[in-house]
Homo-oligomer: 286 residues x 2
Amino acid sequence: METLLVNNILQMKEINKNWKKSDTIVGLVPTMGALHNGHASLIKKAKEMCNKVVVSIFVNPIQFGPNEDYDKYPRSIEKDKILCNELGVDVIFSPTPIEMYGENVILSNNELSFVCPPYSIVDCMCGKSRPGHFDGVATVVTKLFNIVKPDYAFFGQKDAQQLFIIKKFVKDLNMDVKIIPCPIIRDVDGLALSSRNTYLSENERKIALTIPKSLKEIKNLYLSGIIDTGILFDTAISILDKNIELDYLEFRDFNTFKKVDKVKENTLVAIAAKVGKTRLIDNEIL
Amino acid sequence: METLLVNNILQMKEINKNWKKSDTIVGLVPTMGALHNGHASLIKKAKEMCNKVVVSIFVNPIQFGPNEDYDKYPRSIEKDKILCNELGVDVIFSPTPIEMYGENVILSNNELSFVCPPYSIVDCMCGKSRPGHFDGVATVVTKLFNIVKPDYAFFGQKDAQQLFIIKKFVKDLNMDVKIIPCPIIRDVDGLALSSRNTYLSENERKIALTIPKSLKEIKNLYLSGIIDTGILFDTAISILDKNIELDYLEFRDFNTFKKVDKVKENTLVAIAAKVGKTRLIDNEIL
C-alpha cells in the first residue's frame, strides 16, 4: 500500500480511531522532514515494533529562535515521500503551521498554550543557547501525541537532551506513549547524520569531523581508565579544529541529567558547536 | 453498584482501558473535594451524558500560592463518598500528592513539567492575584485528562476564567476531551456555592451577599438598556459592602476574553473580592 499523505488534523485523528478499533499498535516517528538514514533507522525500528507507522513531517516554527534557520531549514517532501513509501510507512502526517497553530495567531506564549519542561533540564546545554527551543519542542510533540495517539514514539539519541526532556514531560504529564530511543547513525566519515549537514561546505565538513573524532577519543580514554572530566575535556579541545566555535562540551549522568565530575557507565558526553554558520550537535553515551 | 475509590494512577488507567473496550462514554468531574450542590449539579449532568462517571478529588498543591489556603482547604472525603454514592458515581479518583507528583520532588517549574496557558488570559483577573495558579490548574487538569481519558469533562461556570483557560489549552494542544460548562449554583440567599464558603462567619456571609447582589443589579441595568461599563462598575461598587476588599470587577467578552467598554450579549461580568481572609469569586454572563 502506498503511503498516505495527510495534512489535516481531524483526518489524522479519524485514521487513528479506525486503527484503534482493532487493537492496532501505532508508532510515530516525529521529524522535520529532509529525511536521511538516521530517520530511516527510526522508521525501520517503528516498522519492527508496530502494526501502523506514522511519520510526521513538520518544520515547527515555535522551536526556532528569531535568528535561527526556520526559513532556510531544508525541505524535501517529494524525496521524503519516496523514502517513506519504500520503507512501508502507512501515513505521512504533514500539517501546515496554520493547521497546527491556527490562523492570525502570533506564535508566542502570549497567545498559545505551551508545554514547559522543568527549567533544570531546559536551561542548560542546547536550551541555554536556544531559549524557548525545548518549550517549542515539548509543545509540538505533545500536540503530535494527542493527534496521532501513538503507542510508541521513536527519537534519535543524537538529540540527547531532547530525548531526556521528552521522557520527562511524558512521565510528568502521565502520557501513555512509550518513548523508544534509537542510536545515532553516522556517515561513513563518522559525522552524525543531520538534516543540517547539507549546509556544510566541503571544507567545513572536514572541520566538523573533528567533533566525532574528539568524542571517540574521550570514549577511548574512558575505556583505558581515565574518568576525570577535566582531562577528558582538555583532550577533546585539543582535537577540535581551531575554527570550531564550541558552544558546550558536557558530561552528564544520562539517568538524572546531573553534571558529573568523574565519568562512568551511562555518562552522556554531549557537544554542540558551530562550524561556520551551522550549529551541530553530537554525543556519546559511555 | 457502590462507588469505587481509586488512589492509584495505573489502576485508574486500567479501569478506563476496560471501559473503552466497549465504546463507553466516560465523564470526568474534576474537584478538590468538599463537595457541595454545585459539584452535585456537575455530577448529575455527567450522569446524563455519560455511561461512566469519574469524580476526581485532589487538592492540588501546585495551584496554591505559598501564602494561600492549601493546608486549611476543607477536606471531607467520607462525606464526599456518601454523596458520590448517592449520585451513582462509578469511580472516585483520589490520588495523594506523591502519587501525582512523585516523592522528594520540589513542586516547582524547576523540577516538574507544566502546561502553561497563554499569558494574555493568565496574567489578569484571578491569575494576577494568584501568580502560577492557572499553570498549576492547567497542569493537573492535563494530568487528570491523561489518566482518566474522559470523553467529556464538566466544569462550573463560577470559575469563568478557569473554564476559558481550560477550553483554550484543550484546543491548543489538540486534546480530544469536550469541555462542558455548567451554570453557577447558588444558595437560597444568592451566594454562589463554593467550598470556601465554610470559612465565612455569619457576619462575613452577610457582607459577602453584596457580591451577588451587585452582579444582579448589573444584569438588571443591562436589561434596562445600560451598556456603559463605567456606569455599571460604579453601581456595583455602591452596592458592595464597605468591608469588602475588591480584587477586580471586570467586563470581558466571553468568546475572546478581551475587555469590553460596552457590554452586550455574552459579556462576562466577573468579580473577585476578599471578605475577611476569604477570597470569593462570582460572575454573570449577560
